[in-house]
């Protein structure tokens, strides 16, 4: 079975790589398998983990023997979970045109959860904490910082502030405001450059992983 597994994985890996030459039936076959398999994968994972694992097991908990040998629920059933399942079924109503509008209810619930959660999390961690992290004593609490760190702190303050100015489009980017926005875009360009470098690193790492599989696990030519 291991031989089959390795050859299947190698066949599929090379099939995707064959796209580099040109679009071809081998690639298209692998692509179609990928689409079908990944949809099936998530279908099953969410069925067992969320629908069975959370809903079914929550409402009908597994039985276990207690101290006197009676079969009892391992935990108290949580019937409130039925509301979640009802909302889920309402979501599927979208497939029926006449009553498709009812799927807006579970959708509204999802949107409400996400909005409430993001409102707090992003406001606190990605906004206030970042503002707090920017407005710091440039020289350190006790003037203990080195020149290297002081210069760094100044760059952080100026870069963040001017970067935000660049994103402010309600005022025309002219005069001092325009010059500040210009500094902002320079900072953001450096950020994009760094992200580009890291993206190259990441994609190359994945490629290296595949090469390691092909020449190592499959063909056994490398250690």
């Amino acid at each position: 079975m291991e031989h089959v597994a390795l050859w299947v994985a190698a066949f599929l890996t090379l099939g995707i790589i064959s796209f580099l030459y040109k679009d071809n039936p081998w690639y298209k076959l692998c692509e179609a398998i990928f689409v079908g398999i990944s949809a099936g994968y998530w279908f099953i994972v969410l069925f067992w983990d969320n629908i069975v694992g959370k809903f079914w097991v929550g409402v009908f908990p597994p039985k276990e023997l207690n101290d006197v040998g009676e079969l009892v629920n391992s935990v108290e059933p949580d019937y409130w979970l039925i509301v979640g399942a009802v909302l889920g079924v309402l979501m599927l109503m979208r497939l029926i045109p006449n009553i498709g509008w009812i799927s807006r209810w579970p959708l509204a619930f999802i949107i409400g959860c996400t909005s409430g959660l993001y409102l707090i999390n992003y406001f606190s961690s990605n906004m206030m904490r970042q503002v707090q992290g920017t407005i710091m004593p440039l020289l350190g609490m006790n003037y203990e910082l080195s020149t290297y760190d002081i210069i760094g702190n100044i760059i952080i303050v100026i870069g963040t502030f001017t970067g935000l100015i660049y994103f402010y489009f309600s005022k025309e980017h002219k005069g001092w405001f325009g010059r500040a926005a210009k500094v902002g875009i320079w900072t953001i360009m450096i950020t994009f450059g760094a992200s580009f470098g890291y993206t190259v690193m990441s994609r190359m790492s994945l490629l290296i992983g595949r090469v390691d599989f092909l020449f190592g696990d499959w063909l056994g030519l490398i250690n």
Partner: protein
């Protein structure tokens, strides 16, 4: 019913999540627990909806004998095989040695990893054909990318061996990442957070209704 109820649901759920942050005790902690469980369950049904839609589109392609309809059959068969095996193997489907984990390890994983790995080739090609220092902005972007790529691998320091240790490429890359990169990243992060917070607030207050679609 069609607009008012969803607006009410969104508002109440959103407000509960906000209140729970400030009052993490009963009853908000309890309601938050229910909501988070319901969220997971509804999310699973939403993915089902997506998968069923994929099947519908593929089936229509096959029935209509549209171009590449043969591959639509492959999609349907792959999906059915994965789902049938997943159901048949029960909730231990993920355990080592099951057919489902075999398909995951030797079919899904190689395909997924190689798909992303392909980008490595296209990044290199784009770097050759399009990555030009046309103006100051582009030059800054290019130089930052250039220095990070050099500084984040050991060969960077080997090339700059003649420079003082603190000025070798790995140190330059660290400096860029720690200061100017962080400043730009933070401006973007705060910008995104501002956008998300204001949009969330509009949704919760019922000002933003685009997600409910048209009609009554």
């Amino acid at each position: 019913m069609r607009r008012e109820v969803p607006l009410l649901i969104t508002g109440i759920v959103g407000v509960v999540f906000v209140l729970q942050y400030f009052i993490p005790h009963w009853p908000f902690s309890q309601v938050n627990t229910w909501f988070s469980d319901w969220f997971s369950i509804v999310g699973a049904f939403a993915i089902w909806l997506g998968a069923l839609n994929l099947l519908k589109i593929s089936a229509l392609k096959v029935i209509g004998k549209k171009s590449d309809w043969g591959y639509a059959i492959v999609i349907i068969i792959s999906f059915i095989i994965m789902v049938a095996i997943g159901f048949a193997e029960g909730k231990e489907f993920r355990e080592q040695g099951t057919m489902f984990s075999w398909l995951y390890e030797y079919v899904y994983s190689p395909l997924s990893a190689t798909m992303f790995a392909l980008l490595a080739f296209f990044v290199a090609s784009a770097s050759y054909r399009a990555f030009r220092a046309r103006n100051l902005d582009a030059t800054l972007l290019l130089m930052a990318g250039f220095l990070i790529m050099l500084g984040r691998v050991p060969v960077g320091d080997s090339i700059s061996f003649f420079l003082p240790e603190n000025y070798q490429f790995s140190q330059v890359a660290s400096w860029i990442m720690t200061w100017p990169q962080t400043a730009g990243q933070r401006a973007i992060m705060i910008g995104i957070a501002l956008g998300l917070v204001s949009t969330s607030l509009r949704i919760i207050l019922g000002i933003e209704r685009a997600h409910l679609g048209g009609g009554d």
